[in-house]
Subunit: 462 residues, 2 copies
Amino acid sequence: MSEIKIITLFEKILDKSSIITGDKLKLRFYHIWKTDIPLESICLLLPKDTNEVSAILRICNDNNQEIVIHGGLTNLVGSTKSSKNQVVVSLEKMNKIIEIDEKGKTVTCESGVIIEDIITSVREKDLLLPLNFGARGSAQIGGAVSTNAGGLRVFKYGMTRSLVLGLEVVLPDGTVISSLKKLIKDNSGYDLKHLFIGSEGTLGVVTKVVLRLYKHPKTRYTSLAATNDYEKVLKLLNFMEDKISNNLTAFELFWNDTYKQMVSDKTMYNKYLTDNYKYYVFIEYMGGDFDNDYNAFEKVIMEVLDKGIVKDAVLGKDEKEQLNIWGIREDVAVLAEERKFDQHFDISIPIAQIGEVIDKIIIELKSCKGVETIFPFGHVADGNIHFIIGKDSDDNDLKSKINEIIYSNTELVKGSISAEHGIGLDKKKYLIKSRSKDEIELMKVIKKSIDPKNILNPGRVF
Amino acid sequence: MSEIKIITLFEKILDKSSIITGDKLKLRFYHIWKTDIPLESICLLLPKDTNEVSAILRICNDNNQEIVIHGGLTNLVGSTKSSKNQVVVSLEKMNKIIEIDEKGKTVTCESGVIIEDIITSVREKDLLLPLNFGARGSAQIGGAVSTNAGGLRVFKYGMTRSLVLGLEVVLPDGTVISSLKKLIKDNSGYDLKHLFIGSEGTLGVVTKVVLRLYKHPKTRYTSLAATNDYEKVLKLLNFMEDKISNNLTAFELFWNDTYKQMVSDKTMYNKYLTDNYKYYVFIEYMGGDFDNDYNAFEKVIMEVLDKGIVKDAVLGKDEKEQLNIWGIREDVAVLAEERKFDQHFDISIPIAQIGEVIDKIIIELKSCKGVETIFPFGHVADGNIHFIIGKDSDDNDLKSKINEIIYSNTELVKGSISAEHGIGLDKKKYLIKSRSKDEIELMKVIKKSIDPKNILNPGRVF
């Protein structure tokens, strides 16, 4: 079908203002960090409700038209890239928070709502949406669901998957699968939502979501601690789990270069600890007891200092200090801005082996000509480590060499090549390092049964 | 194919002792509570490893032979019933705990291991498997995974689904899908395990499982509290979430008749609270602080008494008292033994509406001739209520009438007809009260793509 004809079909179901074509496409982009690269697409569509999404998909399915879905464009594996002969659908107009149920502790919203907006809105009702990661100010909830986003509080609250109670999804043929229930427990038939969560928009377009919320903790304290020995990082985690397990909401790790960069002149963050330790651990404590929580947390921090488990530690006394400490952890875009060319990684490694594996990777990376900066950091309590690697060029050989170093070392310890970012287009080649041929074959069987014409986010994942 | 021929094929791949046929089948049964009804089946097979399961399935698939899978036979929806022309496979010989990883906090085991055995084994390493329900002494982990079992600690730790890190599954055609990773985070492609968890063995046979464990809490305290007003039950929950949220591991509710029965002459349990209140709440507190936890818990219990949120309360001082309190909650088989004929229910209701909905259901049930006892109880914090209803006969009209009362009232408030037990054979007729036609159609598409000959646990779910 010609481009013009398919646009004519869209014009029958959408307002003119919801169809972006021609030169106006040049003002759109496919990634929030690549705003200098204009979008390639037949057109970009901006549906305003589920019915419009359904009608768009029906047209595309009937006409074998490939389609790529856009959320907040913060994905790091090329999932939102499109080509000239594909249609792009952005869910940005579907940005209503439909209901906050205070008694039942749920929020129901459209998929285009920005995560930070949900966090802020439910906070006003003394409720917590524990989903929390660096891109929350741009990322949309539909994207987080489609990619099963992780973040800083997975250790305690689980991935996005654990927070989704209900889902409304449009299948490639336009069928709306709606199950917007607020139930924590529902074993009535297959739990279909798990098909769509984490399948990167290849099986359906998420249009509405019901999320589980928690009572907002009354207290939040943060500590930053330093040590030179990975075994002591593990000891520290073990000690915290023993003493304050129920209140431990985050346990994050920086390597020296990463810390150094985050407290350098390039940021506004205060350097609470000197930058000469090998490891820096960010610990978050949340509780319900105003009177005693600070003292309880301070006590365990004093203990780990006394026992020599950590070399130095600081405890955020007030809001300002806490913001500073978490700013260092979260504001990692700074690490990507260091070089024009970079590669991002997001691997899972069995926790006991993280120290040695990352040391080995760093040595191998340093021997690569063209690698200039190496910034590892991550959610160590759940085994997930990120890397941002700055390079002097976009050379393909260098790219492959770096991928090979990271993924082979991951495969050796039965890790995952993608802990939370997904596979998208960029990691397809390496999927076989995490999953067996039979597993990938089964993924294809599922994809084919739900999207037989392969029109929806084609080429993603496998 | 004739019965004899298919048995001949099994004889080529299994020891004679692993094939039970003829009169010996009379000593087997399809449910742990129905031991007076012998099994109907061509034969019962007892594979001893994954390869044998795979070989059995290949034979069945090649010969269009229907097959029913047996775990611990504690399922409450008829999932393990078979007919004379079906083959039954029991996983009871696959009962090895393969590895307990203390540092990584995981356990890897075969699917036929009894849940209580896992709990006990990991307890010795100071680890907790939070999966906990009445039938844990008989139920096998493979069954718990296949049905996404719930239980007493879902509020804090989630359903079985949340505890499964890795899975090995045999597909209907004999293909082994193995992903026995120990990773908390793995977004490398579709998360296939969620297809098999909760699909009641209709998509594959679970053969091995990796489960996430937690540090075993140092302290465990239990309280039993009573009130006459459902709003106060909600207030109590709210108060607990505010004050001891992180330590609250169970919050269970009994109605008066249920409590009365459990502390009657028919059991050995002490009646710590008089039996004249409408509601009894079981509260479990787990923590990491030997010195202060008992006092912290006692303080909030005193507060709810002082504030009049509860009328009376008792706190289990020692192991013996705690066992008594939890025995009342867990030993619910007693409720089923009260009458020869009974019906069991397992519904989810939005938590704010539980009080009124259950009152309404009880009134309607009482007006049914033939209903003799009504025992509601459940996991109120996650909206899941069970009913055991004793009757004077097995009359089909009465059965339908009772189903109709329970399920229509559930449907009215957008609840679920099965919170944790699943659908099996017994609840198929009512699936449409919880799920839309399009949802059920999609379940069938998935089933057909993975089990095109419909040989595996046929007729279950839909």
